[in-house]
């Protein structure tokens, strides 16, 4: 790889590239639309009143800042590094997804859009989108794979309560990636009034950078809170990665702090060797999907392969392009954790800390459990508790053979 850059925080370039990753690989019909989003976002970013409005809603509606919590009993349990949780599971709607939705909905309003579309896998982003649409009185249409609608009935009902229309996706393999395809097809067909609210740091430029910016509140708060708690920066950061928005949000403000070790945790499903996993970086290779070049799970003919993870939120065959770049440049370490390892930590954290974590951060926690015991007691580690596990109780009960 090329020499170390002066800063890891300058990307993307004006074409939306992070090194060879990112870009704008979309149909011509969409091109003017994403240029419009880019222009509107650049203008909003430069407008102090936009940030002020966003800050107000983050404080009073989302409930920010989220606490930085010293997980004392887990720290004792592992007997090594001092473990902190960034408590983004305490946000309104129960995960980090709302940070991005709040930013984008304010942008959509500035742009005068009346109709919001979104894709969702497990339903977390769908609920967050439906929530902000309800708050601002905008029409909301959520695309969701038909099997996911079956599996995640409570989430579907929540979206409907919030006034959203949930459209079952049966195209392709009817998974999250197909929900994203159908959302893009909707956008191509409704170009005048519709805004596509993408839920992760993927999609065509400017989405990966914009979603990262909106999620960066996580890392910005963590810096301040750690300085207040310990008088210095953390030594390491750990976050789980599906598309990678919670991880980008935590990592981004620390990328140029060379002494901060940064680790992203992908979902290894049944194990990398099983072929049934969602680890795009460790088990995939670069390709082009959903408007950007990034690491993808695919076969030798360039056909996308379905991902597998017990965590529906990590079940995506790609990863945000900036993560691909951070991987190849070596700034961030990427590892993977299996379904079983995540399940163990889901239970451990519930018992030791009284916090039922979502299955997604349970992956991050499983990696914390692997490295924390080997680290000294003065090593400060922050794990992003990016979602709460209430949504996962049925899945976990099922996996443990418990009938509810």
């Amino acid at each position: 790889m090329s020499a170390e850059p002066n800063s890891y925080r300058t990307g993307p370039d004006e074409f939306g590239h992070f090194g060879i990753f990112g870009g704008r690989y979309v149909a011509e019909t969409l091109m003017p639309l994403i240029l419009e989003v880019e222009k509107a976002y650049e203008a909003a970013k430069a407008d102090p009143s936009f940030q002020a409005e966003l800050d107000e809603f983050l404080k009073h509606y989302v409930g920010r800042p989220s606490p930085l919590y010293f997980a004392e009993r887990l720290t004792e349990h592992y007997g090594g590094a001092k473990i902190y949780f960034k408590r983004d599971e305490l946000n309104h709607t129960g995960a980090h997804k709302i940070n991005n939705c709040m930013g984008q909905i304010l942008l959509a309003r500035r742009m005068g859009k009346k109709r919001i579309i979104a894709e969702t896998g497990a339903g977390q982003h769908g609920v967050a989108t439906a929530t902000v649409c309800a708050r601002f009185g905008l029409e909301c249409v959520v695309y969701m794979g038909a099997p996911d609608i079956e599996r995640q009935a409570p989430f579907v009902f929540r979206m409907k309560l919030l006034g959203a229309k949930v459209v079952p996706v049966t195209s392709g393999t009817a998974t999250l990636k197909d929900a994203m395809n159908d959302a893009l097809r909707d956008w191509v067909s409704n170009v005048d009034d519709t805004y596509y609210l993408i839920g992760t740091v993927a999609g065509p430029h400017p989405y990966p950078a914009m979603v990262r910016d909106f999620q960066s509140v996580i890392g910005v708060e963590t810096r301040e809170q750690m300085m207040a708690a310990e008088g210095r920066l953390p030594d390491s950061l750990v976050a789980c990665i599906g598309g990678g928005s919670n991880a980008m949000g935590l990592f981004y403000p620390f990328l140029d702090d060379k002494d901060v070790r940064i680790i992203g945790v992908e979902a290894a499903g049944h194990g990398l060797e099983s072929g049934q996993h969602a680890a795009s970086l460790t088990g995939g290779r670069p390709g082009v999907l959903h408007g950007n070049r990034t690491y993808l799970l695919q076969d030798d003919d360039g056909q996308i392969i379905d991902a597998h993870s017990i965590s529906a939120g990590l079940d995506y065959p790609g990863i945000g392009p900036e993560h691909s770049w951070l991987n190849d440049s070596g700034r961030v370490e990427y590892v993977s954790v299996t379904d079983d390892e995540a399940l163990d930590c889901f239970q451990l954290c519930s018992r030791l800390e009284g916090i039922i974590p979502a299955l997604e951060p349970s992956h991050a926690l499983a990696h914390v459990g692997k490295i924390a015991p080997e680290l000294p007691a003065d090593h400060l580690m922050v794990m992003n508790m990016c979602g709460r596990g209430d949504k996962d109780v049925f899945t976990v009960a099922d996996a443990l053979g418990v009938k509810l």
Binding site: Y25, T29, S189, V191, G302
Partner: protein, 284 residues
Amino acid sequence: MSRGTTSGRVEARFATLRKEGRAAFVPFIMAADPDYATSLEILKGLPAAGADMIEIGVMYSDPMADGPAIQAAGLRAKAGGARVTRTLEMVRAFRAEDQDTPIILMGYYNPIYIYGVEKFLTDAREAGVDGLIVVDLPPEEDSELCLPALDAGMHFIRLATPTTDDIRLPAVLANTSGFVYYVAVAGITGTKSADTGTIHAAVDRLKRHTDLPVAVGFGIKTPQQAGAVAEVADAAVVGSAIVQTIADNLDADGKALPGLVEKVLNFTRELSSGVRNATRQAAE
């Protein structure tokens, strides 16, 4: 920018049609739909059924610009063993018998990227492919495939759409070669249809910016619609309605029923008649 010598088939075909005073009829089929042998038989029959040029779909798992009919065709093709290598093999088999009908491959970038751009251009040219339509490569990504293709003498046919405004249009047309493909509706394939007046105005607008022939596709389903488009454009493309005819002639296991090929070719003949009987309005 350098441009390599093309096969010349696209230019020759449009020149001939201009002399005949009519538009081209361009059918689309998905390679290996519903299986390789049936698909090749359809392909070989298309010129005699009135195809002036042929678009062959390269299967991709995530066709974000396609509607239900072509998505389903892609899934059938995958089951039928579609791969980039097989698609090129099909073109090679066709070229053994037909040296004149232009073949345009249409699809998405990833399978080509994974095949390897340089190798793909070499192999496609050798197989007898004349041009490419790659849906998810706008001018902003020209360095990926468009410029290497032009270098290699492969036409790179760009899509212009109802959302392409006058400011953007010159950039869209700059590196287009062979012809321009006007997407008649803001939407996906095989769903909405545009009215003739709108299409006429759109083609006129394109003609003010380019001397290249203008083909029109998306939402053209019947011989009448094809004929109406042929009155104002240089080519009419029909895809979804043709692959739907394939879908309608399969058994419960997705295997071709007897007579499928003839039914598809008969429908193609009707579409082609619609184009041939059209009275041209387009000012050259």
